[in-house]
Assembly symmetry: C3
Homo-oligomer: 118 residues x 3
């Protein structure tokens, strides 16, 4: 039988879905939107760390990340937090694009797919 | 040998691709674009139901959904159709962003990844 | 133990990540940005061919593609290169949207997920 595990489900979505050895996270945004894009990125990455741990994974098992920036001119600032955080020898595939997000105070949203640690 | 099954292939793409127990759908748009975003979302979700059924899956097996809105201010209207449709105890990971779509009459496009039912 | 293989890793990302029989590529852009969107698309698809080959896959094993165009009005021009390239009987799921990319000279970026050839 197919087993799918879900974490932190709301009316609309789950924050993490685990199946067949993979972990799919919802797009993460910063809890404190008073921060600038560098600060929001650090918060987003901390949320990703937290959810991956709950799902039995961690950042070294991230396969792919899609990064949405409300303003692409903040690319270098986002990367400061990203490069300080990403695993030194286990880097995911990645794409970054500009997109308006659900609320104007969100400067960055990141969605990742990972492997369950084994 | 690697087995990949494809449904409804055109010159450019397949509407569904099935491999290794996963189903990847093409981004779905509304057949009747005279509808508003709530109506278009309902149509898109009906297309997703139809394609998942053809692929041997269903909405409770959706792992992840990416929702593109031509105008992010229609987020609440999209969610009316989404929340009426999404499985009550089997909710996917999700991300929503604003993006212009292939034709201006498309108000919403949704792309999902699911598991084959087992 | 979980085995993840990574190709062409930089400070920020890997260009290809291989795990559990799947290949995740980073979003690919054109090396020569003096080309128009049709020419840039052909370059991007050549990069995808190159990375898939290095990962033990090829275009007939692509499951899903997301295409980002800096200007959605170039959709038909992108498709000229896409249709000349895509495998005649093995077409992936696909979604196309408009999004500003990391540098204004990039007219198109494509991210694909494939299966390792078996």
């Amino acid at each position: 039988m197919t087993i799918i595990k879900r974490l932190e489900s709301s009316a609309r979505m789950s924050q993490a879905v685990i199946a067949n050895g993979f972990v799919f996270l919802a797009g993460q945004v910063a809890p404190d939107t008073s921060a600038d894009v560098q600060g929001q990125t650090a918060q987003v990455l901390a949320e990703i760390d937290r959810l991956l741990a709950a799902a039995g994974s961690s950042k070294e098992f991230i396969l792919s990340a899609t990064i949405y920036l409300a303003d692409i001119s903040t690319f270098a600032d986002m990367n400061k937090s990203w490069e300080a955080w990403v695993h030194p020898v286990a880097k995911p595939a990645r794409a970054t694009l500009q997109a308006l997000l659900v609320a104007p105070e969100y400067r960055v949203e990141i969605q990742v797919t990972a492997l369950v640690a084994g």
